[in-house]
């Protein structure tokens, strides 16, 4: 299952992670986010420890969204060694998201 990232655990789970981390910025009232949700879950299920996948609720963590320049949802960011290396905006096919982790 996709992890839940928030302002408290973001540093330890995302920035300090030794494996790449896919972060899905979303909100409950955003219909496209709800459509992308199951795809994010699938990617999480298939990770087998090679990477982490988690979600940031922008309603509850507006600071995280603004720190990383998230201005549209859904936005998916991939972090490597504490830095954003990939960004994808909107509902995109699963393959396209998996490519961000390569």
């Amino acid at each position: 299952m996709a992890m839940v990232f928030d302002e408290k655990n973001f540093k330890s789970e995302v920035l300090d992670s030794v494996v790449p981390v896919m972060v899905d910025f979303w909100a409950t009232w955003c219909m496209p986010c709800r459509m992308l949700g199951p795809v994010i879950e699938e990617i999480a299920e298939e990770s087998k420890g090679a990477y982490k996948v988690g979600k940031v609720n922008v309603d509850e963590n507006p600071g995280l969204a603004s720190s990383y320049g998230v201005m549209n949802i859904p936005t998916v960011l991939v972090f490597k060694n504490g830095k954003v290396v990939e960004k994808s905006v909107g509902v995109v096919p699963k393959g396209q998201l998996l490519n961000l982790l390569k």
Binding site: W29, C30, N72, I73, V91
Partner: protein, 291 residues
């Protein structure tokens, strides 16, 4: 609650309605007048027309044909669609609820003609006020467009943003000006966009800078692609991605005709419409409260 609403009355929408009514479900058609057919002086590449007819004539014949079968047709403009198990369609004059929806309103010819558009997608340009308005609380935003759709998006933003301006980009506003409230209107043409790292200004035709934090795109009318994007369907090259049977990722939602891309031809629209009408009826008949 309607069983089936078909948005669009071109070849795809009318074919969908024909197949639905023949299968026992009378749909409601909502449309906003003639679409791409208006520009077709002669339809010459369609089966069985030795004497070509005009697009206008074909469109009128389609409407006549479907009305003769008792299918209700409403002329209105779709503004937004919500999904919560059923579909709620907001138009300029009314609200409809339906179990199943076929999007067949064609493809929009007007896209955002700003060379910096792609660069600012995700960093200041948005296609969904209801999704992204949240990020612009107490900020200055603009909506580009000149119709009721632009006004609708501006109204979504009005309670959140510090200032909302509708930019008509040189076009005449066609929305109800009485409904503007605190929303402002700027009619000058937009030449370019800039700002680092996010969108911060637009350059107007007299080289005056228009400062803003976010630009929402709502050109023309809310087309099938706009509606689909906000429902979270996948869009590629401004077309709705559908399965081969015209179904989408949302249950009961189908799309047909030009809005799904491929050949922008009457033949393809008719085929997809027929399929969508048939599949929608099949979907409805499988529902627990089978119709």
């Amino acid at each position: 609650m309607e069983k089936l609403i078909i948005a669009g009355a071109g070849p795809a929408g009318i074919s969908a309605a024909l197949y639905a009514v023949r299968s026992g479900i009378t749909p409601l058609i909502i449309h906003k007048g003639i679409g791409a057919l208006e520009k077709a002086a002669k339809i010459e590449n369609y089966y069985g027309l030795p004497d070509p007819v005009s697009g206008q004539e074909l469109y009128e014949n389609g409407l006549k044909q479907i009305k003769a079968l008792g299918v209700p047709v409403v002329e209105d403009e779709m503004l937004s669609v919500e999904y919560d198990g059923d579909y709620t369609i907001h138009t300029i004059t009314s609200t409809y609820q339906t179990k199943s929806l076929i999007l067949a309103t064609g493809t929009k010819r007007n896209t955002l003609a700003l060379k910096e558009a792609r660069r600012y997608e995700g960093s200041g340009i948005s296609y969904c006020a209801i999704c992204d308005g949240f990020f612009y609380r107490q900020k200055d935003v603009a909506v580009i467009g000149n119709g009721e759709y632009a006004l609708h998006e501006a109204k979504v933003l009005e309670p959140m943003a510090a200032k909302v301006t509708i930019l008509t980009n040189g076009m005449e506003p066609t929305f109800e000006k009485e409904a503007l409230g605190t929303i402002q209107v700027e009619t000058r043409k937009i030449i370019s966009a800039g700002g680092e790292p996010t969108l911060k200004w637009l350059e107007l035709e007299n080289h005056e800078k228009f400062p803003l934090d976010g630009l929402f795109v709502a050109l023309g009318t809310a087309g099938s692609t706009d509606i689909a994007r906000k429902l979270g369907l996948m869009i590629e090259n401004n077309h709705i991605m559908i399965e081969t049977d015209t179904s989408t990722a949302l249950p009961g939602l189908f799309a047909a005709g030009d809005c799904t891309g491929g050949l922008l031809q009457v033949s393809k629209a008719v085929y997809e419409g027929a399929l969508a009408g048939t599949k929608a009826v099949k979907y409805l008949k499988k529902l627990p409260e089978a119709v």
